[in-house]
């Protein structure tokens, strides 16, 4: 404090300070109620913000999931088409040229470098060479038109071609997977030189050199052309090579063809990551049409119930005879309005859990029909500080009976049919939990597609009839009894509701028979929770948004 301040601070200030320093004044008791109410609103605002955040997060995840799934599908579909087109475009002229003149070189779209040639050539009997094409993820096919005599050597300059037969490499790029590119070189004989080199996807790079001198094969382009358009194997050239081996049995040199075909088949099976197994799996999965599944969905649930704001006027002596509704006091009138406001502001969405068991029937290669049985429990909550007491006058006994105290929710649905109502405010706010248990009969369609050898995507949609098993309104205030309605009770809630649901996700085959899947799911009810005769206010339709996890078992399959 400055000297000027000290000068000013005299006895008047001292006296004032002494008198007011510890002076107290009692605020109105209502001040705390107002603070309490404001704090409750603040808490709700925070809760709403948090819920909004999670809703936005769920929506973002859902959108991201859809986009990623769509991109993935597009990616695989395009690759598959491009691979088939490229195979047809590049191999056909190569085969034609080599057939016409074995000594003719065909310039391909991309020519391998000398080093690559050597490395490819040095594959020889060594299975895995460090050949890396420019476009790494892919398959390379080399068509070699060789002359009568040729030799392979292991050094850089060791590849020589006998006679005048030049060597031509043709390279094709595939994007069939993430595996390392491998090379498979097939040498042709002197009679016919439709040679192919194929690489396949897989986790290991395997080079296979099949010496088939003097043997004739169907040209690669023809073999590719014979591949059906809807072929869905992950290794695009697997069927090509298998088919080539089979077709080879009717080629010129039949006596050796069978041996070579069998040998090629077994070698290619090894080289191409056991396609025989894959084929077996495909066969197994396609042969079984029935499957059973169990799922659980944890969701965010909004009940969307609104109660009408009834204007019950306080009754005084003069208004007797004109009053048609229940008798209420002025305090109750105010409290009732506050209670409605509180219900509107404080009712929050909560969670939903759904279990279901479904049987599926495969009706196409990718489509399954699903039907089953489910159970769901949907909850919601309100924080309130008002208790409604209702009184009924019995004219026979002239006694006034008091009904069980409730929250403002249920009596409002019945539009206060009692003689008098009292709404009192509690000291502490308390929670009211709403619970709706339903038995569901779902029916739906699921579409599936392969993402990899073991992974698959799915998208499903359908509807369900939901039977209300039990609806409960429970307050954590000892004065208020829990109210519960069974299927046979006169309940304000709708007994049967229909809902639609959509979902998609990813799954993994754990074995031939067992697979698991996970993905987001959205369910929307087509009608409000309240029965029509109780829905006095504008009612919203409940919905859930959450994550579904399920396990499926394919009937009649070996679980290995």
């Amino acid at each position: 404090m400055s000297s000027a301040d000290k000068k000013e601070y005299g006895e008047l200030e001292q006296s004032m300070w002494r008198r007011f320093q510890d002076a107290e004044a009692m605020p109105d008791p209502d001040v705390w109620s107002r603070i309490d109410h404001e704090l409750t609103l603040l808490e709700n605002a925070k809760y709403k913000k948090r819920v909004l955040f999670y809703r936005q997060l769920a929506a973002a995840c859902f959108t991201l999931f859809i986009l990623a799934g769509a991109a993935l599908l597009l990616h695989f579909k395009q690759d598959k088409e491009q691979a088939l087109l490229a195979a047809g475009d590049t191999l056909q002229p190569a085969a034609n040229s080599t057939t016409a003149n074995a000594s003719t070189s065909i310039a391909s779209s991309q020519t391998l470098t000398e080093a690559n040639k050597t490395k490819s050539a040095t594959i020889g009997t060594q299975p895995a060479q460090a050949y890396t094409p420019d476009n790494t993820a892919g398959t390379q096919a080399i068509a070699q038109a060789s002359g009568n005599n040729y030799t392979y050597s292991g050094d850089d300059n060791g590849y020589t071609s006998g006679g005048n037969a030049p060597v031509t490499y043709r390279k094709r790029n595939y994007n069939t997977g993430s595996g390392n590119p491998g090379a498979s070189v097939t040498e042709s004989g002197s009679q016919y030189s439709g040679t192919q080199l194929a690489a396949t996807t897989g986790n290991t790079t395997t080079g296979v050199l099949t010496d088939a001198q003097g043997q004739g094969y169907v040209p690669a382009s023809q073999a590719i052309a014979n591949v059906p358009d809807n072929y869905s194997s992950s290794g695009i050239l697997n069927p090509l090579l298998r088919r080539n081996a089979q077709v080879g049995t009717i080629a010129s040199d039949i006596s050796t063809q069978e041996v070579i075909a069998a040998q090629k088949q077994s070698e290619l099976s090894l080289a191409l990551n056991n396609p025989a197994d894959t084929e077996k799996q495909e066969k197994a999965s396609s042969s079984s049409r029935w499957n059973m599944g169990m799922g659980v969905t944890s969701s965010y649930f909004t009940q969307n119930v609104d109660i009408p704001e009834q204007r019950l006027m306080a009754m005084n002596k003069r208004s007797i005879g004109t009053q048609t509704g229940p008798i209420i006091s002025a305090d109750t009138e105010v409290n009732l309005i506050d209670a409605y406001k509180e219900f509107e502001e404080n009712t929050q969405a909560a969670n939903s859990i759904n279990f279901d068991a479904k049987a599926g029937l495969r009706v196409g290669k990718r489509i399954k029909m699903l039907a089953g049985l489910g159970y769901s429990k949907n909850t919601s909550k309100t924080r309130t500080s008002y208790i409604v007491e209702q009184f009924v006058f019995n004219p026979r006994t002239s006694e006034r009976a008091k009904l069980n105290p409730t929250t403002v929710f249920l009596p409002s649905l019945h539009t206060f049919t009692t003689d008098s109502v009292s709404v009192v405010k509690t000291k502490q706010p308390f929670n009211v939990d709403y619970s709706y248990q339903m038995l569901s009969v779902p029916l739906g369609v699921q579409v599936e597609g392969a993402v990899g050898q073991k992974w698959f995507w799915y998208a499903h949609g359908g509807g369900a009839a939901n039977l209300m098993l039990q609806s409960t309104v429970k307050a954590d205030n000892p004065e208020i009894a829990t109210v519960s309605y069974g299927p046979a009770d006169d309940s304000p809630f709708r007994k049967v509701q229909f809902s639609g649901n959509v979902g998609l996700g990813l799954g993994k085959r754990l074995s031939n028979a067992v697979s698991v899947s996970v993905g987001p799911e959205y369910r929307h009810f087509f009608s409000s929770l309240l029965a029509s005769e109780y829905a006095n206010a504008k009612q919203g339709k409940p919905y859930t948004i959450g994550v579904n996890m399920s396990i499926n078992y394919m009937l009649g399959q070996n679980a290995k």
Binding site: E8, L12, A23, Q428
Partner: protein
């Protein structure tokens, strides 16, 4: 010392409960300080209703920000500071605090030695509340809360000189009121 540490622990528990949003703890804190804060508000607000509004708004702020309480001062001071700021904001919103830039020097008013024990609290409050809002603010902040004019200038967004000037006028008005009440007071000066 033991009592002090025990009290401190209780206070910490109270604060922790309030941070956790426990309504009973919040109620306890309110019960502890509401009366004192009500008196503070009565000095700043022109009416009891407005004082209660300030108490309500102030305590909501206290509960919403109690996690920011650094414990570098007693809790009561922290609450009082929030209540005072709320009162200033409240009056500013109601345009009761018009900013004036009076540059004239404070009047040289002789200090008297007053014995205010002869006056009831209602009388004293009535005198303070009858002051113009800006005089009332400056008087309260300086004479009772103990802020200096520089701090008051910052709080009310006025210059230090203006604060002094307004305080002098408020003091003169109060002196006049006390003189008119015709109650005895002694004539000696206490320097502080």
């Amino acid at each position: 010392m033991k009592l002090f540490s025990s009290n401190k622990t209780e206070e910490e528990k109270l604060i922790e409960g309030c941070i956790a949003g426990k309504r009973d703890m919040q109620r306890l804190l309110y019960d502890l300080y509401a009366k004192k804060m009500m008196m503070v508000c009565l000095r700043y607000a022109p009416t009891t209703f407005e004082a209660e509004d300030i108490v309500q708004e102030g305590f909501v702020k206290v509960f919403a920000n109690i996690q920011n309480f650094k414990k570098d001062c007693p809790l009561e001071f922290w609450i009082r500071r929030i209540i005072i700021n709320t009162a200033l904001k409240h009056l500013r919103q109601k345009s009761l605090l018009t900013v004036s830039h009076e540059t004239e020097e404070a009047e040289n008013i002789s200090s008297g030695d007053y014995n205010l024990n002869d006056y009831s609290m209602d009388e004293l409050l009535g005198m303070i509340q009858s002051l113009a809002p800006r005089y009332r603010m400056v008087f309260n902040l300086y004479a009772i809360e103990g802020y200096n004019h520089k701090e008051i200038g910052e709080m009310l967004d006025i210059s230090e000189g203006t604060s002094k000037s307004q305080y002098s006028r408020a003091r003169a008005i109060l002196q006049g009121m006390l003189n008119r009440q015709d109650k005895p007071y002694q004539e000696h000066v206490i320097s502080r």
